[in-house]
Amino acid sequence: MKTNTIFNTLIRVSFIAVTVFFAACSSDDGIKFTPGQDGFFIVNEGGFGNGNASLSFYDKTSASVTNNLFESTTGKPLGDQAQSMTVYNDFGYIVVQNSAKIEVISTDDYSLVATISEGLPSPRYFLGINASKGYVSDWGADGSTGTIKVIDLTTNTVTKTISTGSGTNQLVLVGNHVFAANSGGWSNDNSVVVIDADTDEIIETITVGDNPSTLVVDEDNDVWTTGTGQTVYNTDWSVNTEESTPAFLAKIDHEDFEVTLKIDAPSVGMGPAGLKVDSNGSTLVFKYDGSIFSTDTETVSSTDDFTKIIETDFIYGLSIDASENHIILGISPDYTNPGSIKRYDITGSFIDEHTVGIGPNGIAY
């Protein structure tokens, strides 16, 4: 009689699919790491509740994928719902949301360095600040009490909690300012907060629109975000079009924190989502209307400036491999069978496809 549980799972998976769409790869903050020259990790989220998240590695020399890398190297299952991975200072921080932990591996030999499992009820994304400090966004046990956990990277322990909003999701670093998108989690929010990374204090709360979840930084250091909007149902489960809000793309000035551009989608539930930026910081790539679109950061002013570049089925993860300026799509036909990655150049020309684990949601290098 797990109707509810099973359907909750379905709902959660789809919820996650809708709201978050894709894990951040670390391209935004991979300053100290030579970006993906040898290859990249692929985070396979797994089916919610099934404990079958996994890590794959794409090796560029052999053009082949090694699957189940974490489990075969460490002898330990990765856990449930791997949300993201960030490589920072030769360590890979794999955030496993439903297992309420971060697995820290060495990027040299993939060995297990530490497991951070205290004080992270529902972690989402890791951001390295400096050699001894990292931030992790967290949804809280109730899925809406959003926080940022400050991690001491020398001891791999949570040292501080910053209250941020609801469903705090992706993080980016501009100078010493951390931008954090409050995606709502299980509830709703409409803000991006700015934190002083030296003092760990919130210095600004920017209202951008309903449930902002992704963040990227362009060549001018301005911050772009997409929000999922909010879907409100009537009692008969039809969509209440009056109270619902569409997804949007917005630009935040990194100096005065003003929202200088906001483009709403023409209808509810079509995106944009899963925002990424190319290696030059001038082309935005995102999911929109079931396909992959791109647009130019300098000229975009409305959805008319969105250009469809890739059309394919079962898109889940969207990432950019900055070392070659490639688009990497995670393809997930369902959450019980292996997915694949499809590689494209930045204009959307298909390169190749490789089988990976269940629910590939992003890459890291």
């Binding site: 009689m1 797990k2 109707t3 509810n4 549980t5 099973i6 359907f7 909750n8 379905l10 709902i11 998976v13 789809s14 919820f15 699919a17 809708v18 509740g49 099934n50 404990g51 079958n52 189940n68 489990e71 075969s72 330990k76 299952p77 856990g79 449930d80 496993v96 439903n98 297992s99 309420a100 932990k101 499992s117 992270l120 009820p121 529902s122 046990a141 109730d142 899925g143 809406s144 299980w186 879907t231 149902y233 008969d236 489960w237 079931g290 036909p333 369902d334 959450y335 019980t336 069978n337 292996p338 269940i358």
Partner: protein, 631 residues
């Protein structure tokens, strides 16, 4: 054999002696008991031994079937959802009937066998293979038939008290009360059961020893049976089964946060049965079943859902035993069902009417021939016609050769059809349709001091329009998109031997070899095996009785199971062999008072195992039973 049975029953706990003594039936009013024997003569049927049922009367049917039946139980941990998988199909394709009433939920298509205490039923019979001609929707891989004992009359007052304590805070208290006069028979039984299930296990996900939390269960129930025998040709029975279950749902071993989730199931099952015979050749069996099930799930975070399902089942069967060699049964069934759920737009309802005919011919005194058919109309739409052909050839007095071909189906559940919200049901779904073929043999030898039955069956099932939920973008919906092939071999051996008046040995073994796949097999062993379907599975029970003492050993083997649909080896469940032992002694205080005690040691070798990925099970544990009986 009868001597053995009686002996067996005396060796065991409690009331089974009554069951046997009370089986002095109304000779002309015993339709149901023989329905399988007559109209499913080619089917492989397995009746759980009454002493095994009695020995486990503080456990659920799920545990009982795991240990003794030729099927696979898929369980979400020790107290969690447990359903039967037969011949490589799933819970939605395995019908579960109580007194002929289908208990599968119209909302999700399953019945949680952990919510069926062995204490509440007296007969558990498993019919393997497609049985939809006889039992309707859902009887595709097989059917589990639960029943209560035939009412007894002129027995006066009797009662029994059943007490059980065990590891991990298990306590079970049961009371059965029976009273009968010449025309009236009343039986009442009630139980209260509680377990903390706070066992410790090694969690591979955290690489540490952990204690299971939030896995406790609390159940209580009351079954009242009233029978009135107007005359030798008429029997009227009223039954009411109420049960309330609180099942706390632990986190999976891979999850990080503790769970506080709890599910409450409260149900009423009412039944009125009227049996009437005419001229010893014609028998009418009418029943009215009323089912009401409320399910509440609360994860104490952000989900609190409420579901309510109701069914009204009317069924009449008219059986005509024309001669010794010809029997016919004509039946009609009307089922009305409705449900409300937070995720249904409205209350949803369904009307189903079925007409079915079963026949039995004994040809040349050698060949049993069964021809069956069922036609249903579901909300005005004709469902597929379901024929069955069964043959049982009595080659010699020790060899029977059987063959059967059947069509079966299962209609979509309300969740499949009407779920709304961020996932969407699909009102255009059609029923899953299956064909099952099987052939087998039964070797029997019945000597003065021993008896052996050895049965083997090869089966093949093909189910089309298999319903599967898949995501389209972010919205999950079910579609009739898959096809299932399952085939394999089943073997079973039953042996009883009596050395002398004081000593007696019995053995019961089942083995199943099951290949099951959703991708059309190109080789005999398919590339991809269905998840949680062990290719090899079996159980073995051996018991030895000496005067009033008994001892038994049970082995259950579950082969490797894949947890991923792509059969990823690294995430397959390891095979495991579990060994339980039991011993007991029966004190006869005098003719009226008896006391039976038994001790069970489960998983005696303290095996670490998972029944499902991230669902660990307890190591060695103990149960002590005490049954006091007065009659």
């Amino acid at each position: 054999m009868r001597r053995f049975s009686i002996l067996l029953m005396y060796m065991c706990t409690g009331y089974w002696t009554w069951a046997q003594q009370d089986s002095i039936l109304l000779e002309s009013v015993q339709i149901q008991s023989s329905r399988l024997e007559v109209f499913a003569s080619a089917d492989r049927t397995t009746r759980i031994d009454s002493n095994q049922l009695a020995l486990n009367d503080g456990n659920s049917i799920a545990m009982l079937l795991t240990k003794f039946a030729p099927l696979n139980i898929r369980a979400y941990g020790i107290g969690g959802l447990s359903t039967a998988s037969m011949r490589g199909t799933g819970s939605n394709q395995t019908a579960v009937l109580w007194e002929g009433i289908n208990l599968q939920s119209q909302m999700n298509g399953s019945l949680d066998l952990n919510l069926v205490p062995a204490f509440m039923v007296d007969d558990v019979t498993i019919q393997s293979g497609g049985g939809a001609s006889m039992f309707g929707s859902g009887a595709m891989g097989g059917t589990i038939l639960l029943g209560n004992q035939t009412p007894a009359f002129n027995r006066g007052l009797n009662l029994s008290l059943h007490e059980q304590v065990g590891s991990f805070g298990l306590q079970n208290h049961g009371l059965k009360l029976g009273f009968s006069s010449k025309k009236l028979s009343l039986g009442i039984r009630g139980f209260y059961r509680k377990a903390d299930n706070d066992f410790s296990f090694y969690n591979d996900f955290t690489q540490s020893e952990e204690t299971q939390e939030n896995a406790n269960i609390e159940q209580y129930g009351l079954l009242t049976e009233l029978a009135y025998r107007a005359n030798d040709h008429q029997l009227i029975q009223i039954k009411h089964w109420y049960q309330n279950n609180n099942t706390y749902i632990p986190k999976t071993a891979s999850a990080g946060l503790p769970s506080q989730a709890v599910q409450q199931d409260a149900f009423h099952r009412g039944l009125i049965k009227w049996q009437q015979s005419f001229y010893n050749k014609l028998q009418l069996d009418y029943k009215l079943g009323l089912l009401d099930h409320i399910l509440e799930y609360d994860d104490k975070i952000n989900t609190h859902s409420h579901n309510h399902a109701q069914s009204v089942i009317n069924e009449a069967q008219l059986r005509y035993d024309a001669t010794q060699n010809i029997a016919l049964e004509l039946g009609v069934n009307h089922t009305y069902e409705n449900s409300t759920a937070d995720n249904y737009t409205d209350k949803v309802t369904r009307n189903r009417t079925a007409i079915f005919l079963s026949t039995h011919f004994l040809l040349w005194n050698k060949l049993d021939l069964n021809l069956l058919g069922r036609q249903s109309v579901i909300d005005g739409n004709a469902a597929p016609f379901l024929p069955t052909l069964g043959l049982n050839y009595h080659a010699t007095n020790w060899l029977d050769i059987k063959a059967k071909a059947a069509k079966s189906y299962r209609i979509p559940t309300f969740n499949d059809l009407y779920w709304s919200g961020s996932s969407m049901g699909n009102p255009d779904l059609v029923p899953e349709e299956g064909v099952s073929l099987e052939a087998g043999y039964v070797l029997t030898t019945d000597q003065r001091f021993w008896r052996i039955t050895y049965e083997g069956t090869a089966f093949y099932n093909n189910i089309q329009d298999w319903i599967l939920w898949t995501p389209t973008g972010s919205v999950w919906s079910p579609e009739n998109k898959e096809e299932l092939w399952s085939y394999g071999i089943e073997q079973s051996l039953k042996l009883t031997a009596q050395f002398n008046d004081n000593q007696h040995v019995s053995l019961n073994a089942n083995y199943q070899y099951v290949l099951s796949t959703l991708k059309q097999p190109t080789t005999f062993i398919p590339e991809i095996q269905t998840t949680y379907t062990p290719t090899h599975q079996g159980n073995l029970y051996v018991s030895y009785e000496w005067k009033k003492a008994n001892i038994g050993i049970n082995n259950t083997y579950i082969g490797k199971q894949y947890s991923d649909e792509s059969n990823v080896e690294i995430r397959a469940l390891d095979p495991y062999l579990l060994t339980d032992i039991n011993c007991g002694y029966r004190f006869v205080l005098n003719r009226k008072h008896q006391l039976a005690t038994s001790l069970q040691v489960k998983n005696i070798f303290d095996i670490d195992y998972e029944v499902r990925r991230a669902y660990y099970m307890p190591g060695i544990n103990y149960q002590f039973n005490l049954v006091y009986k007065f009659n």
